[in-house]
Amino acid sequence: MKAHLLYPDADLDAGRMRPPLADELVTDLELGLLLYAMAAGDAFLRGTAETVLLAALTDPDTIAYRQAVIADCLRAPDAVRTLYALAVEALDRERRLFGGFLHSPGTVLQRAVMSLELFVDVLRRLRATTRQHADGFRSAGLTAFSRMLEDELGDDYFRLVGDHLDRLRFRGGVLVSARLGPGNRGEGYVLRSPHEERRWLSRLGLDRTGLTMRISDRDEAGARAVSELRDQGVSLVARALGNSAQHILDFFRQLRVETGFYVACLNVHEALSRTGQPVCFPTPTSAAGVLTGGGVYDPCLALATGGPLVGNDVEAGGRRLVVVTGANQGGKSTFLRSVGLAQLMMQAGMFVPAKSFHSSVCDGVFTHFKQEEDTAMVSGKLDEELRRMSDVVDRLTPTSMVLCNESFAATNEREGSEIARQVVRAMLESGVRVVLVTHLYDLAQWWYRQDGDQALFLRAQRQEDGARTYLLAEGEPLPTSFGPDLYEQVFGA
């Protein structure tokens, strides 16, 4: 029995290793703000959302699978929120049961029986919830989930489970088999079901076959020995039952993760709706080098400012390189983040912050951003930048995407341009997509001359009066930066 709401035929591996360089990605894209909105105060949801976002899908069909579930959730938000709440309740109640830290077979057995009783209760309500909403579900994910609950958790099954839980109290004593192990001690104890005719005799204490030893009341060591034997006898069934309870616990854990992700999507959807910004379901493609978007904006900025934002259009077509130049604080970094976030959200199966978005799925999104806070010596800083770039190169595959923000600014323009030219060229020729925000005119201009039609050149705008529009337009790189403007603005004339 598997929830399988995130993948048609697999679980999300919540304990998986964080993908390489994930910390850099989270920091550079300011993913924290998005996760904050997704969590809406629930720390568990934050972790889940982060895990899912970082475990990007690369298969357009699976992306469509999740998009359909999200569409169902948007139609009936109560259903998925209730499922999530039930999973949380089951885990909560189980945690409060006494004796989780005791490992004697008797305690384990007793605790497992109690766990199973409460799980049965929650499972019944889970089934009732999906029954109530089943007609409204359109997605393959939620439809299959509710059908599975119907098939696996029929009334007969609940009755059978009840019978076993009753029998596991062992009112008639236990019957165990054994063989001779090391040192001629009993081993391989297995709990047995007595043959039917013996069962009643033994319940009444009338079975007289074999040889019977009685421990006298005063023989404490003897009593302990008997209880040790009994413990060994039920240890297997205790383990079996304990493991069963553990499996159902894991089912609820998994359910909490999977429904949690959709609850987090609902949360951020509601938050973005309040800002009035549009979202859309993107169309991922397996074809290489596609990057087309209309009105792409940075959702984190939208959530932080709460106000309307300027979205940018990007039409890279089949061009694998996008070079962004132009005015400082003209929206270059924001643009870079908005592309990265849209790509990540698309590959998590989510809606994206744009009017339209169409892009190739990639193996990994990697960032190489200038580290503002680094105050090390210049030479050490270049070394550090190169080391980070080298880490990125280590992880790249031909379908990766690299977002560079003012890379190699730590050395002079000529050297910085030369290094960037060499490494970016190698990336492009291997099939990697690169979005490059740079003020290295030497670099941008070289590319424009060299490979003008193989790359998309965007320029941050500024109006005649110096005010920025935060809109990027296609255009040849211009030789000067706009630093003097900024200086003017900050220090006043």
Partner: protein, 528 residues
């Protein structure tokens, strides 16, 4: 080379043991050249990190007291060859596994024997003896079978194998095997049931009652979620029988009353343990094996080193070893010999290393380690190595403690080097690691030149790690080597020492090159 091991020599290596009756003399695999066991490490042992190496390869085998075997380099090529032959045999996985298994089983045998002694209950005691005997038989038979099947080349192991074959074929051993097997088979077939209710226990025959745990598992099978953390269930089991289980005899009598002919087998336990003398002998027998048990566990990516006794003619044959990974760094990471990079051969007498300190230091250390290990007759790490068998190894490493008086330190350095040069012969190996760092460049150059001239005069093998460039060009028997940082994978820090002068690339591109980010290097990495 044709050195025959003398029987029983292993006994002398560990002191005098009374040979247990019925056992063959087990020939030594250490060979004739085995000296007594010096109890002290050579001076350079810690400097060369050989103490760490020995500690790591003998870890978990403290009971055998192995480290002293590593202290004494062999003096003759014959002795070296004898051990190298054994090592070559041990490089066959099958042989090594046989030895490992044997060691493990013999430990098991001893464990069982030590449990039998304190046991209060007769039947339990007899069972421990029985099982110890069976384990011993299995150990000896397994080892014999594997060695006989292996294509052994070494005199050492062949002699061991012959002795074992004789022992295994003996009447005493055969009857021990047959008796233990018969009794264990009978006991292994016994099945019984316990019905426990309150304070009473009923013992009955097992009557194919169904497994209830399975039934329970089946009911909840549909929830199976793949890998899950298994539930811990613990119950107390003292190693000894409690009185309910056995103490009162009632149980055993009740068991024997059960109508099963299998139970008669238990009666035979007594006869086996009382008529056969094996238990007393096994413990001693195994103590002759540990040396090569340990060798076998030593999974350095090693190879047989070919040692030459006399210094080869100059400039015509290689004289220094070719390898770059020191055994200390590789001992913990077995089976990665493919990662080994080899440095170029230095055909001349002395070499001086410069460049990043750590790499050069490590090279000097490797140089010493190789010569010591080679002289033990042990494998050395690397793809191939031709080593010189020195009469002695001398090392000069900076002393760890900082003397406050710099002049005193310099003097101390010089005194120690003079001691070395006084005792060194043309057949010695000398390692000078970062000499004269405590003084000015000018002083260091002057003193270094003088020392090097004396070393060149002695015509011995020497590695000198220094930051003084001039020393590298002192004569035509000096080879200059520079340690470089690995260009491909910074994280792994595999240092490579190469024969090349420093290069003058433009700084930024040189740094980019170092990070593997030039066009060519990046292209290569991305396509690989």
């Amino acid at each position: 080379m044709a050195v025959q091991p003398s029987p029983g020599i292993a006994g002398t290596a560990r002191g005098d043991h009374v040979r247990p009756p019925g056992l063959p003399p087990v020939p030594s695999v250490l060979g004739m050249g085995t000296p007594g066991r010096p109890e002290d490490e050579p001076d350079y042992f810690a400097y060369l990190n050989l103490d760490q190496l020995v500690a790591s390869i003998t870890a978990g085998r403290a009971e055998y007291d192995l480290p002293p075997f590593f202290y004494h380099p062999l003096g003759s090529l014959e002795a070296v060859h004898f051990r190298q032959e054994v090592f070559r045999d041990l490089r066959v996985a099958q042989v090594r596994r046989a030895v490992d298994d044997f060691a493990e089983l013999m430990r098991g045998t001893r464990r069982l024997q030590t449990r039998a002694h304190p046991s209060r209950y007769h039947y339990q005691r007899e069972r421990w003896w029985l099982d110890a005997g069976a384990t011993y038989c299995r150990a000896v038979e397994g080892l014999t079978r594997s060695l006989a099947a292996a294509d052994l080349r070494s005199c050492g192991l062949t002699a061991v194998c012959d002795a074992l074959l004789r022992h295994v074929a003996s009447d005493g051993f055969r009857s021990l095997v047959a008796q233990t097997a018969a009794v264990r088979e009978g006991l292994g077939a016994v099945r019984y049931c316990l019905a426990i209710r309150g304070g009473s226990i009923r013992v009955t025959r097992f009557d194919d009652e169904a497994d209830y745990s399975e039934a329970v598992e089946r009911v909840f099978e549909r929830f199976h979620q793949g890998e899950t953390r298994p539930v811990e269930v613990e119950f107390s089991t003292s190693p000894d029988m409690n009185h309910v289980e056995a103490g009162s005899w009632t149980w055993w009598r009740s068991c024997s009353r059960l109508p099963s002919p299998r139970w008669t087998a238990t009666a035979r336990i007594t006869s086996v343990s009382s008529t056969s003398r094996w238990p007393a002998s096994t413990g001693r027998c195994s103590s002759t094996w540990p040396t090569w048990i340990c060798w076998a566990a030593w999974r350095l990516p090693g190879c047989r080193s070919a040692i030459r006794r006399s210094p080869p003619p100059r400039r015509s044959r290689p004289r220094t070893p070719t390898t770059s990974r020191s055994p200390t760094s590789s001992s913990g990471r077995a089976g990665r010999s493919s990662a080994t990079t080899s440095t170029s051969t230095a055909p001349n007498g002395s070499s001086s290393s410069r460049g990043p300190t750590k790499a050069a230091r490590r090279r000097a250390r490797t140089f010493g380690q190789l010569h010591h290990l080679g002289a033990l007759g042990a494998p050395v790490p690397g793809r191939a190595a031709a080593l010189f068998l020195p009469d002695r190894v001398f090392t000069h490493f900076e002393k760890a403690e900082e003397l406050s008086d710099l002049h005193g330190k310099l003097q101390d350095d010089l005194v120690r080097i003079r001691d070395i040069l006084d005792h060194a012969t043309a057949d010695s190996v000398v390692i000078l690691n970062e000499i004269f760092t405590s003084t000015t460049l000018e002083d260091a150059a002057f003193l270094g030149r003088r020392i090097m001239e004396r070393i060149l005069g002695l015509d011995l093998l020497c590695v000198c790690v220094t930051f003084v460039d001039e020393l590298a060009t002192l004569g035509d028997t000096v080879v200059s080597m520079v340690s470089t940082v690995d260009e491909q994978d910074q994280a792994r820090r595999t240092y490579k020492v190469v024969r090349r002068p420093a290069e003058g690339l433009a700084y930024a591109l040189a740094v980019a090159e170092r990070h593997g980010l030039t066009y060519e290097r990046a292209k290569e990495r991305l396509s690989g």
